[in-house]
Symmetry: D2
Subunit: 131 residues, 4 copies
């Protein structure tokens, strides 16, 4: 499993994750979580969190969840349902392995706020670059 120093390095070496202040909460072998506080720059036309930012959380936690096996991955495809939205607070994206194949990992992701309101539900397929 990753140690705190690994988390910090991971985030520092992932510029867009850092630009959006997305932090790793925990990494387990089949399940990981990231968090982010909503700021004014993350909002959309309607004043709620932008879908692009919600998906960015999904993509980040899917990558962390897949890489918990120590291998390198790229996102191959993703599907996301936007279910509800909020303007303020802390968001958590939790990834869970649905299947770890030889070359492809499928990760299910939920984005929720502090009150466990489900904002987005997604599935992400990642392709392993290591043979």
């Amino acid at each position: 499993m990753m140690r705190l120093s690994d988390f910090e390095r991971y985030q520092r070496e992932n510029p867009f994750m850092d630009y959006n202040h997305i932090e790793i909460v925990f990494v387990e072998s089949e399940r990981s979580q990231v968090r982010m506080a909503i700021t004014p720059s993350g909002r959309n036309l309607n004043g709620a969190v932008h879908g692009g930012l919600l998906y960015t959380m999904v993509d980040c936690v899917a990558g962390v969840t897949a890489r918990a096996d120590g291998r390198n991955y790229v996102t191959q495809s993703a599907h996301i349902n936007f279910l509800q939205n909020v303007a303020n607070g802390i968001l958590f994206a939790t990834g869970e392995i649905i299947r770890r194949g030889n070359r492809v990992a499928v990760v299910h992701v939920k984005v929720e706020n502090e009150e466990a309101i489900l904002l987005a539900d997604a599935s992400v397929e990642l392709y392993c670059l290591d043979t």
Copy 2:
């Protein structure tokens, strides 16, 4: 169709679009385009454009394309295939209406760079908030 002053207002009122320097190129009744120059803060662990940023371009142009009918929409769901990636240059995301229903618009989006390399291919469903 939108005039230049509308574009500027749209972008100013969409904080996350502005935070990522995504600009509207054109808006037609059934087809729109946005552009963005890749900067260091937009990259992922592998040094290429982050999938969250590619999706953010997709979400922005899908919203612009749907709203060309003068109505307000929210993104309901999206599916994206990541096909290839680059580290530098200008990216263009082009949205095209596949179907305009009474309540739901389906937009097909392609993200390409200046050399017309296809980076991502997506479909987005948007739900109309105006009755």
Copy 3:
């Protein structure tokens, strides 16, 4: 909740469900299940269950799950991951409501065999026809 006679009528009035011998196992307010025995006509080129038939189970159970509120729905879009496959046995598709909006229901579906091997994982959006 539906009674056995309702299940039989539902299946009889849904010709493609009947043509594929897909039967309702149970219907609860937020969760439903269908089952089907694999027959030779349901196989693909490789001798395993055809993806079209796996999706047909997904579509059927998503419809049943959404309609448990007594309203009529059509499938608007779906995303499916095919995870593993088998050639023989009984398959179960279980649908669960992720969100029931005013007009759109999102249903998560898992297809498993008798040994709980997960064959497919899907999410389906259904649009309500009743105002």
Copy 4:
């Protein structure tokens, strides 16, 4: 490219495709088509074509389109938008390669009727079994 005798063999060896009377129209290196006449057994509760059958056409033509390179594939995931529906007539599903990677092919599929009404729009990812 495939010859007529190949088409007949392909269909005969694909039992679920045959069970649903789906026939190959043409196979080119990057684009293929299948067709099917709507019959009573293919309908849903509302009397229109069942979504499972529309997806079955999508899956079949995606497989044919990917296999035009002479390699064997399985469907890995798919996303489908159902746009409109009909009760009678002949349907055509046309697949087009969006990207042919080393291991993954992405195929875009449209399902239309004789009057070119677009019923469904899909993207399918197929994984190559041959190394």
